[in-house]
Amino acid sequence: MAEVAIVGVGQSVFSRDCGVSIRELSFEAFKEAMEGLDITTGDIDASIICSAPEYDKQRSPAGLISEYLELTPKPSFYVETVCSSSSTGLRIAWSLVKAGLHKVVAVIGFQKMSELSSRDAAERMGRGADIIWESPFGLTMPAGYAMYARAHMAKYGTTEEHLAKVRVKNSHYGAANPKATYRKELGLEDILNSEVITSPLKKFDCCANADGASCIIVARGDVAKGITQVPVWIIGLGAATDTMTMAGRKSLTGLECAKEAGKQAYKMAGLKPQDIDVAEVHDCFTVSEILAYEDLGFAKPGEGVGLIEDKQTYADGKIPVNVDGGLLSKGHPIGATGGSQVRTIVRQLRRQATEAQVKGAEVGLVHNIGGIGQYGNVTILRR
């Protein structure tokens, strides 16, 4: 059966308030993804549009974006798994190509969060929990992750300083990323002294709401080689879910959906955690990155903090993680985030990363989580 490759990746600048429409934002990402490819818009057989509808004024954005990018009359449809929407889009693109329905598919993720105030956005995200049983208590996404953080601290002795060190690293790399919302290096004290949002998480432990778009162009292996000189191969895919309610969670010190998705992706790729050269993980909060180290097998349960303490997740460490600044620096435009993570890994494998190039990177991993761990996608790529 045909292999499937990524031939193009792009993203807009992520910002607090982009000042343009979602179609124009999407164009920015699409343009970067198409640059240098030996195909034109007419060669794209289908498009998958990814976002979380609660922020959009536009209803049914797939139709709008496919008209603006001149992708009509090709099929287009909308996919949502909150914060992991665009890696879910990538999974579907892979299967459409693998099944032989299409040769080239575009996955476009976007979100214009500046349509809402941060408090309104928090309320909408709160309704991304169970609206009968849990949202009425005032559950928010940061609060859900804060409960994971507290449980991790109680079980393993993790401290607020450990968490802050994740932001120190990510702000260091974010400072060099021209597409990031926040490009300021932060010190340990800046983070520890920022206001408490939901204990133990403080403002700088949290990603910011942002506007942005991303685009991934996927192609069948035989045509991929004619489209670009450096196709990047999709060699592992994993996807899983966990309960919508916090009440249903079996573990509070790791995300079951991430562990399961990781296991599937490693198995499909025939690889182990130690074979990964560079990773993008879903650091919507500092604690999320620590959980990811453990859930993906980069560290044993409870030993994730050791990786950040020893700087093993810096670009020259054992397993570089989020060396583009992560969601914490880039901002987290929900539907665009997975595509941005994939872009970073593709650029790493093509030796085109400008923030920090990991030397000799051959295999990369993307971990993209939806909601408070309701949805998890893990994708493994090889150059």
Partner: protein, 137 residues
């Protein structure tokens, strides 16, 4: 009666599981067990996905629980901003039933410890609203 008065802000009302509210008003926090296959659920389910029956019994969540985790929410979303700070917690009760609720305002932040004992009880909120919360035992 549905869920229109449940919690600080409710987002939907009608549900088959709304018998829960009748029990709550009567002072009991209850959940469901399938009469056909015996599977139990929390949050309550009016249907049993295990055996596809919709014949369920209500039983009370009783006894002493323990605090699994918590967070003090300072940043309240729209609709909850005047409530903040409030404390969200997960408590675990008999039979491994885990519940999300707020910690009673009677518990001082300094006294909260993961693993501490908890009781679960109905609570009246302003404007005739009702919920359940965790109390110290």
């Amino acid at each position: 009666m549905g869920f229109e008065n449940f919690g600080t802000v409710s987002f939907t009302a009608a549900a088959k599981a709304a018998d829960f509210m009748t029990h709550l008003e009567a002072g009991k926090v209850m959940t469901t067990r399938c009469r056909n296959c015996g599977a139990s659920y929390f949050p309550p389910k009016a249907d049993c996905p295990a055996c596809l029956s919709s014949d369920v019994d209500w039983f009370e969540i009783k006894g002493q629980g323990k605090l699994n985790t918590y967070t003090i929410v300072n940043y309240g979303p729209t609709g909850f901003e005047n409530d903040a700070p409030y404390i969200l917690a997960l408590g675990e009760f008999e039979g491994g039933i885990q519940v999300l609720a707020r910690l009673s305002r009677d518990i001082k932040p300094d006294d909260i410890k993961v693993g501490m004992s908890l009781a679960l009880s109905p609570v009246k909120l302003p404007d005739n609203r009702v919920a359940y919360e965790f109390n110290k035992v």
